[in-house]
């Protein structure tokens, strides 16, 4: 599903150059659950950004679903993200003033899906995360866990092949966090989507199929199923 070859990412200009990713190579199998684990500032988020096409790598090859993201035009990468990738963030990033339905509809709206179909798909996604009854209420009225479920619904509404979750439980208490994890794992099974979780929580990482350990912009080791990630 994802294949990185000698990927580097540099920030800044000549005098104050900062290497966020240093010659990273890794491949992740389709349909698996993989954790990217490391301390803050280790480069794990940058790795996720490069994999998802949110950011361009400075050098190397990024193959996602067989497509080389570095060779694609910005607009094509945007469309690719819109259709193939779902994002879940630590701070949810739901639009508080809008209804749950509108929040979930956003990726479909961007994809120019007609309004009727949009509503149908959004309701389906809300059902998956058990928020059907909140469809019309404003996102601001939801609890933290509900907001994260809402953002999961938004991530799966376009039926992506790949879901990135950046510290999905970071802002939640352990009970709620556990529910979110169970939901994500369940979706991985039911949708068959590859799930990449960025986390610093070793316990959570251990439950994934494989773990990519990142330190100072380098992959120090890959643990778990070697078929899944190498």
């Amino acid at each position: 599903m994802i294949e990185l070859k000698n990927v580097s990412k540099l920030y800044g200009k000549k005098s104050s150059i900062f290497t966020a990713l240093d010659d990273v190579s890794v491949s992740i199998k389709k349909g698996s659950i993989v954790a990217i684990i490391g301390k803050s500032g280790s480069g794990k988020s940058t790795l996720m950004h490069v994999m998802s096409g949110l950011d361009h790598s400075t050098s190397g090859v990024v193959l996602v679903g067989g497509q080389d993201l570095n060779l694609m035009k910005q607009k094509a990468v945007d469309t690719f993200r819109n259709k193939q990738i779902g994002f879940i963030f630590q701070s949810f990033f739901v639009e508080a003033n809008q209804s749950c339905l509108d929040n979930v509809s956003l990726p479909l709206e961007i994809a120019r899906v007609p309004i009727k179909k949009r509503k149908l798909l959004a309701q389906e996604a809300l059902k998956e995360v058990e928020l059907s009854d909140k469809a019309e209420s404003k996102a601001r009225n939801l609890s933290g866990g509900q907001k994260q479920r809402l953002s999961i619904a938004r991530a799966i509404v376009n039926k992506p092949k790949l879901i990135f979750a950046d510290e999905p439980t970071g802002n939640l208490d352990s009970t709620t966090g556990e529910k979110i994890i169970q939901l994500l794992f369940g979706l991985n099974k039911s949708l068959g989507a590859t799930l990449v979780i960025v986390t610093h929580d070793h316990e959570l990482a251990a439950r994934c199929d494989a773990q990519i350990h990142v330190h100072d912009g380098k992959i120090t080791k890959i643990t778990g199923d070697s078929e899944v990630a190498s």
Binding site: S40, H49, L54, D55, Q74, K75, D78, T79, F80, R81, N82, K83, F87, F89, Q90, S91, F93, E95, N97, Q98, D102, L106, P107, E109, I110, A111, R112, R154
Partner: protein, 462 residues
């Protein structure tokens, strides 16, 4: 993203910041308000002007004079001119200098009459009436003017002939005289007789007699007789009573309108033997088919080549309209300055909005929204502000203007049926679109900033 979705989404965003949107929109609203009223006033004044012209001038007529200064409405008599027999005096009111102008003579009138395409030459007989009265009533001052079928006065009572002159021996009495002359009402005056008295400065015939008679006593008697002003009184019947018109160009008491024959008789009586006799400051030359502008202009060129100074009703309208336009531009500039100020308001609001919504923009980008669409989304938001402000301003201006119109009409004495503020829907739609474009222009920079945001930076939570 579809354009409709973008429009709806941008509108929804504004709804979540109602107060801010409203306040920013109000700035544009004030500009829109000023411009709406300015445009409406311009419409009204232009409409009033054209009514004024059409009720005072026949479009097929040319005003023909011999004096450049009078016709060109410059400052008359700004430099002394060579004397000839046609020069006459116009007395300035209020102790001002009298001005001397060259006048149109009888031979000029004959010349005009034989000019091709000139259908008719109308001499303007203005008569100093010594007094007007009727049996058992007091005497009142007044002036007489020849009736012109092309400029029918507004009638309160009685009838005007459909075409041509009013009957000889009849007059159109201004309504100001109805009470003064002891009529019950204007209807009561119809068909009744009034008498006009005019005065001859001195009689030419008595001087001729004087010079023939050599008897000193007779000369003395004749001199005394000749120096006595001669008066003449004629009785005329009232055929109609004219209303006080708001679109009349004459000041003060409107003139009593007389038939051509009567007016000419009185005019000759009062001017015969003086240097004013048969000389006119201007005459009206009616052009055959003169409602067609090309024919009118052709006749005008012809007359001008003969050395006449010519003006058409359009020229007069142009002079007034030009003045109105200058005023309108001056007020309009104030509205535009307000708009310029509001542009900075929109820029500021939108910049703050972009800063506040950094994460939202980042998210939209992460979810695959293109730069172009982000840019467009923010421009549309600015346009919404322009739309709301424009709507508020235009509606406010229209409501206030409509409410004030009766009062303005009364205060400015415009006469019923005339309104100063005339609102045109197409004009307001153009204004609304223009305001939206101004707002869009103001939204360009903030929108550009939004579209250039790096999603990775925007989504950074720490």
């Amino acid at each position: 993203m579809k354009i409709t979705d973008l429009i709806l989404r941008s509108g929804r965003t504004l709804k979540s910041a109602k107060v801010r949107t409203f306040l920013t929109a109000m700035a544009i609203g004030v500009g829109g308000f000023t411009l709406t009223l300015t445009l409406a006033a311009g419409n009204g004044v232009r409409d009033y002007t054209s009514k004024l012209i059409s009720s005072n001038f026949d479009p097929a007529e040319l005003i023909v004079g011999r004096d450049k200064e009078i016709i060109n409405s410059g400052s008359p008599g700004s430099s002394p001119q060579e004397f000839d027999e046609t020069v006459g005096v116009i007395k300035g009111g209020g102790g001002q200098n009298s001005i001397q102008v060259k006048r149109v003579t009888r031979s000029d009138i004959e010349d005009l009459k034989t000019t091709p395409n000139i259908e008719q030459v109308r001499e303007v007989y203005q008569i100093d009436v010594r007094f007007i009265t009727r049996d058992g009533q007091k005497k009142y001052t007044g002036s007489g003017l020849v009736y012109n079928a092309a400029q029918k006065p507004e009638i309160k009572d009685g009838d005007l002939p459909k075409t041509g002159d009013i009957a000889t021996g009849s007059i159109i009495l201004p309504e100001n005289y109805v009470d003064l002359l002891g009529f019950k009402d204007s209807n009561d005056a119809i068909g009744k007789f009034v008498s006009l008295t005019v005065q001859q400065p001195f009689s030419l015939s008595s001087i001729q007699n004087l010079l023939q008679d050599k008897n000193p006593d007779a000369i003395n008697a004749a001199t005394a007789e000749a120096l006595k002003p001669k008066e003449q009184t004629i009785k005329l019947s009232v055929s109609a009573v004219s209303k006080k018109s708001a679109t009349s160009l004459s000041f003060g008491v409107p003139p009593i309108l007389l038939s051509n024959t009567d007016a000419r008789y009185l005019y000759e009586f009062t001017s015969k033997g003086t240097s004013d006799f048969d000389k006119f400051i201007y005459v009206y030359a009616r052009v055959d088919g003169g409602k067609d502008d090309t024919k009118l202009q052709a006749a005008r060129t012809k007359l001008e080549s003969k050395g006449y100074f010519v003006q058409s009703s359009k020229d007069i309208q142009k002079t007034i309209t030009q003045f109105v336009n200058i005023l309108q531009i001056m007020v309009g500039v104030l509205g535009i300055i307000t708009l310029i100020a509001s542009v900075f308001g929109v820029i500021n609001t939108q910049y703050i909005s972009v800063l506040e919504r950094t994460r939202e923009i980042g998210l939209m980008k992460a979810l695959g929204m293109s730069r172009k669409n982000i840019n467009f989304l923010f421009i549309l938001e600015a346009m919404w502000i322009g739309f709301i402000g424009g709507l508020l301003g235009i509606l406010g201006g229209t409501l206030l203007g409509t409410a004030l119109n009766p009062w303005i009409t009364k205060k400015l004495d415009l006469g019923t049926g005339n309104t100063l503020l005339q609102f045109s829907i197409p004009q307001m739609l153009v204004l609304l679109v223009a305001l939206m474009l101004v707002a869009a222009l103001a939204g360009l920079l903030p929108a550009r900033k939004a579209s250039k945001l790096d999603p990775v930076e925007a989504l950074r939570t720490e």
